[in-house]
Symmetry: D2
Subunit: 307 residues, 4 copies
Amino acid sequence: MTIDYGATIAEIAQELAEKTNHGKVPSYIPELAKVDRNRFGICLTTIEGDRYMYGDSNVKFSIQSISKVLSLTMAISLQGQESLWKRVGVEPSGNPFNSIVQLEYENGIPRNPFINAGAIVIADILVSQLQHPKQEFLAYVRGLCNNPDINYNRQVAQSEKSVGYMNASLAYMMKDKGNLINEVDEVLDFYYLQCSLEMTCVELVDAFRNFGDTGVPFGHGAYFLTSSQARRVNALMMTCGFYDESGEFAFEVGLPGKSGVGGAIVALLPEKYCVSVWSPPLNKKGNSYMGMMALERLTTKIEGSIF
Amino acid sequence: MTIDYGATIAEIAQELAEKTNHGKVPSYIPELAKVDRNRFGICLTTIEGDRYMYGDSNVKFSIQSISKVLSLTMAISLQGQESLWKRVGVEPSGNPFNSIVQLEYENGIPRNPFINAGAIVIADILVSQLQHPKQEFLAYVRGLCNNPDINYNRQVAQSEKSVGYMNASLAYMMKDKGNLINEVDEVLDFYYLQCSLEMTCVELVDAFRNFGDTGVPFGHGAYFLTSSQARRVNALMMTCGFYDESGEFAFEVGLPGKSGVGGAIVALLPEKYCVSVWSPPLNKKGNSYMGMMALERLTTKIEGSIF
Amino acid sequence: MTIDYGATIAEIAQELAEKTNHGKVPSYIPELAKVDRNRFGICLTTIEGDRYMYGDSNVKFSIQSISKVLSLTMAISLQGQESLWKRVGVEPSGNPFNSIVQLEYENGIPRNPFINAGAIVIADILVSQLQHPKQEFLAYVRGLCNNPDINYNRQVAQSEKSVGYMNASLAYMMKDKGNLINEVDEVLDFYYLQCSLEMTCVELVDAFRNFGDTGVPFGHGAYFLTSSQARRVNALMMTCGFYDESGEFAFEVGLPGKSGVGGAIVALLPEKYCVSVWSPPLNKKGNSYMGMMALERLTTKIEGSIF
Amino acid sequence: MTIDYGATIAEIAQELAEKTNHGKVPSYIPELAKVDRNRFGICLTTIEGDRYMYGDSNVKFSIQSISKVLSLTMAISLQGQESLWKRVGVEPSGNPFNSIVQLEYENGIPRNPFINAGAIVIADILVSQLQHPKQEFLAYVRGLCNNPDINYNRQVAQSEKSVGYMNASLAYMMKDKGNLINEVDEVLDFYYLQCSLEMTCVELVDAFRNFGDTGVPFGHGAYFLTSSQARRVNALMMTCGFYDESGEFAFEVGLPGKSGVGGAIVALLPEKYCVSVWSPPLNKKGNSYMGMMALERLTTKIEGSIF
């Protein structure tokens, strides 16, 4: 049976348009708060490269935590996995309330690279390994999408840093435990810039489609992920990609993926397709309210989970 | 490319035979301690039903926590998912050290049905719903394997209960929080009996092959799991099947599965195959030392992970 | 300056009679819930033995946790301090929310003998050391007050035990960690009976006056506390006597003392006086609402704190 | 009976001189590590002002956490108690392992003003209330001792700040929770300077003798503590003055007091005497090894505890 992906995503978008969006746009920084809550974009690409899109799929938004997957892949290709996985774990955090407890208990080793503490360690690795971390990371992401029109939003980065007390608290604890090599301020500076990357739904699937093409390594220049490394990153997205809702997402959707507080979610079915949705209001766990519903419907309609 | 499963599992078994087994057979109850640590069995069945086996694949062992998947499916088919998932979550526990903390913090709702607290809640549901829980659950498992030669080991159950202080502590806390309906003693009685089920590698794949045939419902008599329910149980095995090593298993192996302290592991690749391994010595996280290695090699050799 | 204790406690009682009692009588067991919330008694005795009383000072009530001080002194005189303080600590618990966390983290060693877990360990010691724990403990308390008219209330004990799931959870955890020697059921049986002791305000000061006469040992029969041991128990009452309000009580009142959920508080100023108050409604921390106010006023009026 | 305090402290000093000091001088900053571990000083003053001293009682050392009592009294006299006790509690912390857990759980309100987090909040209050916090606090302490020869050690302050990652972590968490008004950096700057105060045993008893004279207010200039406020600070020293060894100190010594990692302890018996000891090596809980022993002996020899 061939699936009409284009018709399916349009159908989903129309169904959701009739639903009330009970999500909330986060208000902690003005730059993210002022985005139009009614934006909705979706883009699906097959592994072969056929793209289907609907709505605001070419509008830029802040990818936020989705960038953690990209910084991780760059760090893996830079220094290999062995030493990296000594500084950050691969287990779900399972801790809705306070990751700092776990961090203290587990000696400053974050549970996985997708919780903030873990992503800060990855940022520390990039700061150590790269001459010009900010430029080189941007070049890496542009290369993945084959698209020079991707940029940071320095104002968003600055705003987030200015109220990012909790991340500073986490970073100083890791510094205390010896799991942060560079100065806290320098690492956080890079971290917030990385999170401020702006991309569209289309650009996201261009970048993440690579993960779905599991038979071949991907990357460019000096930075390549082997096929086996890519599969492991998929496994991490499966178990840890949605904060404290990762189990729920696996349970309801059944795809590896990653969400960000900017309201975007990207997910993929290996060897089949990669999909991204963007709708700014978030549910209580911090994932896009409509994005979660869209992907539940998608894997229900096309029976396309990995399970 | 067709895969020669039989040759592959034999090859793995032979490779592992040359490795030192650094695992330890648990000593907390005499019945489990006296098992021969050199036992090794493996059995793989394709979804179509072709079986391949090696070593002690027809020797009975205590399936222990693997039984939690079967009690869960029986509970789902008995009372549906809606009310069940109000009493137990679907998130990984992420807590190596003390699930009782999480249980207290989260008001007596266990994080998932595969940690002990969660399985005790499922046992409570079966005790409430069934007239003769012990007989009916046994009949259910026998039916899944189409095999009347499956039994409890009452001596193992009794031994485990007599030293099961921590489970009693968990159960009383849930009773205190209102998440246990029947008497603690009655629920634990059933729980330990359920865990004492004895099966062989072959019988395990016969039972769990059903989960891999994701297009069709499975079960017998009054107890059926829809295709969508089965997929969700697969997702749970993926994210929560290996105690605090679930992330690691997803990362290294990439299959939904479940392990037990008896030294067995069962795992499956939907639409393809189901595999079980048995080797009693456990690693530090409580999973079969050789079992984990066997499955890592399997998905490396045949590139058969879900990612 | 000589203090007119009689006039002072009458004055306090009259002042409090005009205040609204915002406390609540605990409802978890019928026997304690049906007590008249307007009961109010107070009794003060100088170390020399002059007694002053007001209100319902001769009415019996359930002393509950106040009994923990008496079981501790009996245990100290039975087996000395050295081995006892290896099984239970002398630090405040500082944990409003869940002592089971601390218990698990600290390997089953309760922080002090006045939190429930600690008192259960003390009960375990008495069960081990005494031939007829229930009779002998009762005889010990009667002897301290020189009063044969003190009894358990078996109905209260039975009621509390039947809903005491949290204590069972704590006890099983300690059993798991090896800090409970006897069967959980037998220990809890004794523990609930001990807590069900019924005494009057007058009887309480008769028993606790001994602690204030710090220059001489006290006890009777085979059970004596040295002067130095008594001082140490006073220190414990100071730092740990009021659940999570111990610091507050030290801060506001400044006397060693102990409260119980029956609504009684007993406190003392070494070498000077011992005082008890009874008023059933409790504040949010589980201490008598009016009792706390009465003692604050007392040490303000007579400048009689230990600081 | 009149007590010969001079003979008593000399006797204690000589007894301790024969004991092996199993304590360790902290090595985390060079300035504190290079102090001579054999230094030993003791000074006792009666409330009337008779001073007895022995050994290095006129040698300056870093008072460290003992300064937290002085900053607290200044903060109380500046803004009164009402608003102050909304931002910091009066309960013992009871948490040997990680105060950051409690801080997160309790919404950024430290348990008491003597744990680091609490002292940082007090520092924040002083930074808010004073025009020139550093100079004014120094003037306040000098005034309490009536001694202009008391100074900060800026090198110690700088060293401690440069490795004080854990305090930065705590401070940023409180900033996140809204319990820190000024910039983290400014508050920590003041905090480390305050802790770097250098005093002698004699100067310490001169300052803390005031707390023992409980009938009269004390202070100077605009800063006075009422008699009732001083008593409450004594109660706090009793329940929270010795980190996680506060219960132990109350139990073994029975005096309100405060210790610092510089190896000093100051303690007092209201209306009777104030005593300070200095010996740099610390026990495992961070209190002076010999200092604790000296005070245990003192209250044993003169039966001078508050209980």
